[in-house]
Symmetry: none
Subunit: 231 residues, 2 copies
C-alpha cells in the first residue's frame, strides 16, 4: 500500500477537520494536510476528532495545494460535479485500487465544503475522482467523503509494489516543471498564443497525467528535448 496523504483545501469548519482525522484514523491513515484552513488549530477540531488527536497534532498547514502535494507521485482530486476540462475521471473504488498500486506517496485532495475544488486545484492532480451517489442529492459532508475514500483505500488492500521504483517516480513538482516547460515551448514557438483561452495547457496536462508511473528520468528526457528545440 502506498503512503496516503489526505489534503483538505480551504476547509471552513474546524469540526470537519476533526471528523476527517477520525475517519482517516479509523481506516489506518494518519497523514493529514491542510491548505489555507479558515481556522486551525481549533477546539471544535479536537472535539470531533475524539481519539484521533494524534492525527491532528501531526497535521501540517500549507499555503498552496502545490506545496501540500509536492512530494506525491499521484494526486486524486475529489469532485461531485463533472468538469469540462479535467484529468482522467475515476470512481472512488477504481481510484483506490489504482492508488494502492502506486509505489510512491499518493494524495487524495478534497475541496471546500461549499465550493469544492477550484479548476486550478483539479488540474494540479492527475485524476478526478467521484463518489457514486444519488442523482437527486449527491452532496456528501466533507468528512463523510473522507470516510468513504479511506474505507475504499483500506479495502484496496496491501498489494506488493516493485522495490526501488518509488525513488524513480516523478513527483508533482517534477510534473509541474514539465508543464511549465511545455507551455514555454508552445508560446516561444508560436504554437500557443497566450490569453486567447486556448485549452492547450490543459490538454497537455491531461495527456501526461494519464501516463501510469511516470518516471523522473522520462520527464527529464522530454525537458531535454524541449531545451534542445528551443535553442
Amino acid at each position: 500500500m502506498a503512503q496516503v496523504r489526505v489534503v483538505l483545501c480551504r476547509p471552513s469548519h474546524p469540526g470537519n477537520i476533526g471528523s476527517a482525522a477520525r475517519a482517516m484514523k479509523s481506516m489506518g491513515f494518519t497523514d493529514l494536510r491542510l491548505v489555507a484552513p479558515e481556522k486551525f488549530p481549533a477546539k471544535e477540531a479536537e472535539w470531533m476528532a475524539t481519539n484521533a488527536g494524534d492525527v491532528l497534532e501531526r497535521t501540517t498547514i500549507h499555503a498552496t495545494l502545490e506545496e501540500a502535494i509536492a512530494d506525491c507521485t499521484a494526486a486524486y482530486a475529489l469532485s461531485a460535479r463533472p468538469r469540462e476540462w479535467s484529468p482522467q475521471v475515476l470512481d472512488v473504488r477504481t481510484a483506490a485500487l489504482d492508488a494502492a498500486k502506486q509505489p510512491g506517496p499518493v494524495a487524495f485532495v478534497f475541496g471546500n465544503e461549499q465550493s469544492g475544488l477550484t479548476n486550478e486545484e483539479v488540474m494540479a492532480c492527475q485524476f478526478l475522482v467521484h463518489i457514486p451517489a444519488s442523482a437527486d442529492f449527491s452532496s456528501l459532508n466533507l468528512s463523510h467523503a473522507v470516510q468513504v475514500v479511506a474505507y475504499e483505500l483500506l479495502m484496496a488492500g496491501h498489494p506488493q509494489v516493485p522495490k526501488g521504483l518509488e525513488q524513480k517516480l516523478a513527483t508533482s513538482a517534477d510534473r509541474e516543471g514539465l508543464y511549465a516547460h511545455l507551455n514555454e515551448a508552445a508560446i516561444r514557438s508560436g504554437f500557443l498564443v497566450p490569453e486567447t483561452g486556448s485549452k492547450l495547457p490543459e490538454r497537455l496536462r491531461r495527456l501526461f497525467s494519464r501516463v501510469p508511473l511516470l518516471e523522473r528520468e522520462e520527464v527529464n528526457i522530454l525537458r531535454g528535448l524541449l531545451k534542445a528545440l528551443l535553442k
Copy 2:
C-alpha cells in the same frame, strides 16, 4: 434493489441523526427509523441534515427494535466488535451484495454511539455486519458508519462501470507518425545523435505507449507543437 431501512437504536446525539439522514439521502435512501432516541425531533438534527430534511420529516419512532424491523425480511446488525454468540458474520461489502438480492425490505441496524447494540438487539437480526477498519482504532462515528453502509448498498445495487469513452483513438499509424516526428525533432535539434546507440527513441516510445486510450487529437497536438518548434 431491495427497499432499505436504516434503524438507529437509542441514539444519544440528535446531530448524528441528522448526519445519518444526509448520509442516507446522498446514496438514495430515505427510510430512517429510530428506536427510543434520547432527543428527537431536535434542532441539531435539522442543522446536520442540511438538505435531507425530508428524510427527517418521514422518520418514524419506535419503542423497540422488534417493532422497527417487523416488516423486514432480513435485518443486518452493525457491530465493531465480535460477539461470542451472533448470527452469521459478514463484512459490509458482502452484506450489501446480499441485501441487494433480498426480495423484501431489509434493515441495517446501528447501535448507540457509546455502547453499540445489545446482544438481544444483535440476536433480533439475521446477520452481524462489520466495517473493515484499523486494528488500532476501529471506532467510526455513527453517521460515518451509516455513510459507508449506504455507499456499499448503492454500489451493490448499481455497479459502476467506467464511463463509456467515445473518443477517436489514435491508431498504430498515428502513433508511428508521432514517433517519427519526435525522432526528427530530436535529431534536428541535436538532442539525439544518430547511430550512437542511444536508447532515446525506445524511451519515448515506451513513455507514449503507456498512455491509455491515447487520442488522435492528442497526437496531433504534440505534432503541432513539434512542427512549430522545428520552424
